[in-house]
Subunit: 187 residues, 2 copies
């Protein structure tokens, strides 16, 4: 299969970028992990920068799918689905593989606002906000735009704190705040 090597590189790169950062992860380490020659990487992606962008885009779509699926499995009620997303965050933070949100790392490592990684991170946050917005509207909650922005802010904050403290406490706190916000927006 032609694309299997490509996907392999993509996956290995994502794991290393997550764990050790983008700049700190050399191309050679990705190659070692993937067991692939250097030219296969450069033939498929052109450059490390482009590989980073593709990893970010793939990760965002993957994460969105997982979030949506998790919400659907948790409940049929949009209100409950929103809370389920925050419970999912708690489980994510408890995962020993968890090393913080990749997109927060991307904006930190590529501070130029116009850089492709920074824009990919912005797009990711907007996608997350859009998911919340859709659920807020379905649940007939008041001021859904502002509320979805707040929920996305809570998720970002929880991920940010969890990266430092490596506990589920931030997710619990965020969930608790989300419950309060939803309750107020429902009556």
């Amino acid at each position: 299969m032609a694309s299997s090597k490509r996907d392999l590189v993509l996956t290995c790169a994502r794991e290393l970028f997550e764990r050790e950062g983008f700049h700190a992860t050399g191309v050679d380490r990705i190659l070692d992990k993937a067991g692939v020659a250097k030219m296969t990487l450069y033939n498929n992606f052109g450059s490390k920068d482009q590989l980073i962008v593709e990893v970010l885009n793939q990760s965002s779509l993957l994460m969105m799918e997982r979030i949506k699926q998790y919400a659907l499995e948790a409940s049929n009620d949009s209100y409950e689905q929103i809370l389920a997303i925050f419970r999912a965050l708690g489980e994510w933070y408890q995962d020993p593989e968890f090393c913080g949100c990749m997109f927060q790392a991307a904006v930190a490592e590529f501070p130029d606002h116009d850089s492709a990684p920074a824009q990919a991170a912005l797009a990711h946050h907007q996608r997350l906000t859009a998911i919340f917005l859709e659920l807020c509207q379905k649940a007939m909650l008041k001021e859904p735009e502002q509320l979805s922005r707040k929920l996305a802010l809570l998720a970002s904050g929880a991920s940010c704190v969890a990266r430092q403290a490596k506990a589920r406490t931030p997710a619990d706190d965020a969930l608790n705040i989300a419950e309060i916000l939803l309750e107020r927006a429902s009556k």
Copy 2:
């Protein structure tokens, strides 16, 4: 003055680290900006890593002083002082010099949890939480520990989102949530 050169390097390094990141900022760029020879840096700090740590520690203390002072100038009431801190965040994000919270960048660029920069960032977050805790206790708010954790989470989340979107909206949203939380904890 012996320490003036040292402080100059410290300040220039902080500005460059903030704007362009730690790894992306080479030692030579710091020297150019400070107008200082290479050996003055290495005689004063020993290494770039140590310079980073000192920059982080200095920045944290500086930020804490500013926050406390801002709160004191805003009001005599602890309750109002908490809200004033979130209003200060909004002004900070509007500053054209704002490039995101330095400590969030530090944990992203030094993912190793035991690294000195990561620990400095953790200490910074704990200091911020401690300030909130003190104010919550003075204001006689319910469950001050949990509440101060939540407030710190809000501040982190707002900084995180503001770095991407570069607007005061996240600060306004965080302030709004904080108002809700304080109201609930006061009655």
